[in-house]
Amino acid sequence: MTGRDFLRRYVTHNLGLKILSLLLAVGLWLAISMGKLH
């Protein structure tokens, strides 16, 4: 697998969904860490 294939398959593919997932995870972590969720 070339670097371009790797980038395409694991990074740029579904990039929007990956960013959304990361934002949701960060939001969840913040909410739990700040004691808003128990």
């Binding site: 294939d5 395409r8 398959r9 593919h13 579904n14 969904l17 990956k18 959304l20 997932s21 990361l22 949701l24 995870a25 960060v26 969840l28 972590w29 913040l30 860490s33 700040m34």
Partner: protein, 290 residues
């Protein structure tokens, strides 16, 4: 990281924690994208928002009602999506154990090679898409669900020009034909040869958007092509196709005596012509009417 005592401490473990949760969320969203589960998720999100605002705004009756319904909703979702949950867990298990092929899958892929040989000899148009890591459920739902055991005979039957399901792509997952007559996205790559018809463009299109591989047989020339990652290898011999599939699917596809061409009387007539290329449709049923 401390920000005026408001933000929680961000350690390396926290970053790992966030990334793992993000991975789980991503896998979940990727699995349900384009399915009816996504619509239910949207509905559940709206209900959660209504619940939150009912709490903030002090709408006690609404808040009470939603808080009573929510626990049952979880059970309802589990019952409705039992097959999907089972499949997702099985997929996760396969990934965790790094399981590659089973003997059944290897046999199934050899059936594809044999079917491609038949289509090539009879100049029957065919488009077979093999799912790999990225789910093709969006495209499966555009066609006719079969969930049938993959076999040479079934493929030959599906792509008979007189068969109602011949028009479109067959989607294969493991040793099952998940669906037939599926619509696929057309490649809009302007560099592609002008000799390529809709079927070939659809075969390339699906590999541009996913990690699937597509086997295309031209009904004009009988040539076998293999599309992977938006590129296409044309005019493959059956032996080469078997070799490439074996490599791409990381499994041994055993050589099997190939069947000889079946007479046209069996139903594989050559009356159909390939669709003209250059369609502006984003999705098309390859090799047939749009």
């Amino acid at each position: 990281m401390h920000a005026a005592g408001v933000w929680p401490h961000l350690s390396v473990v926290s970053v790992l924690d966030i990334l793992l949760v993000a991975f789980i969320i991503y896998e979940f969203l990727a699995q349900i994208r384009g399915t009816r589960a996504a619509l239910i998720l949207v509905g559940a999100s709206v209900a959660a928002l209504v619940f939150y605002f009912s709490r903030v705004l002090g709408l006690t009756t609404l808040n009470w009602l939603i808080s009573r319904i929510f626990p049952y909703a979880a059970f309802i979702v589990i019952v409705i999506f039992a097959p999907e949950i089972r499949e997702a867990l099985a997929r996760l298990g396969r990934r965790m154990t790094l399981a590659s092929s089973t003997a059944a899958e290897a046999d199934a892929y050899d059936d594809i090679v044999m079917a491609a040989n038949l289509f090539s000899q009879n100049q029957t148009g065919a488009l077979i898409v093999i799912e790999r890591e990225i789910g093709l459920r969006t495209y499966v739902e555009s066609g006719v669900t079969l969930e049938a055991h993959l076999s040479y005979d079934l493929l030959a039957t599906i792509f008979r020009p007189s068969a109602p399901l011949h028009d479109g792509a067959v989607i294969v997952h493991g040793d099952r034909i998940v669906a037939a007559a599926c619509f696929l996205p057309l490649s809009m790559n302007p560099v592609l040869s002008t000799q390529l018809g809709t079927r070939h463009r659809a075969g390339i299109g699906i590999t541009e958007e996913t990690d699937a591989i597509a086997i295309i047989v031209s009904e004009e020339t009988g040539g076998i092509s293999l599309a992977v990652a938006g590129t296409m290898e044309r005019d493959l011999t059956v032996e080469r196709l078997r070799e490439r599939m074996s490599k791409l699917l990381r499994r041994y596809v055993p050589p099997t005596p190939l069947p000889t061409a079946i007479a046209n009387g069996r139903g594989m007539d050559e009356s159909e012509t390939e669709m003209p290329m250059g369609s502006s449709d984003s999705h098309s049923k390859p090799g047939g009417e749009r």
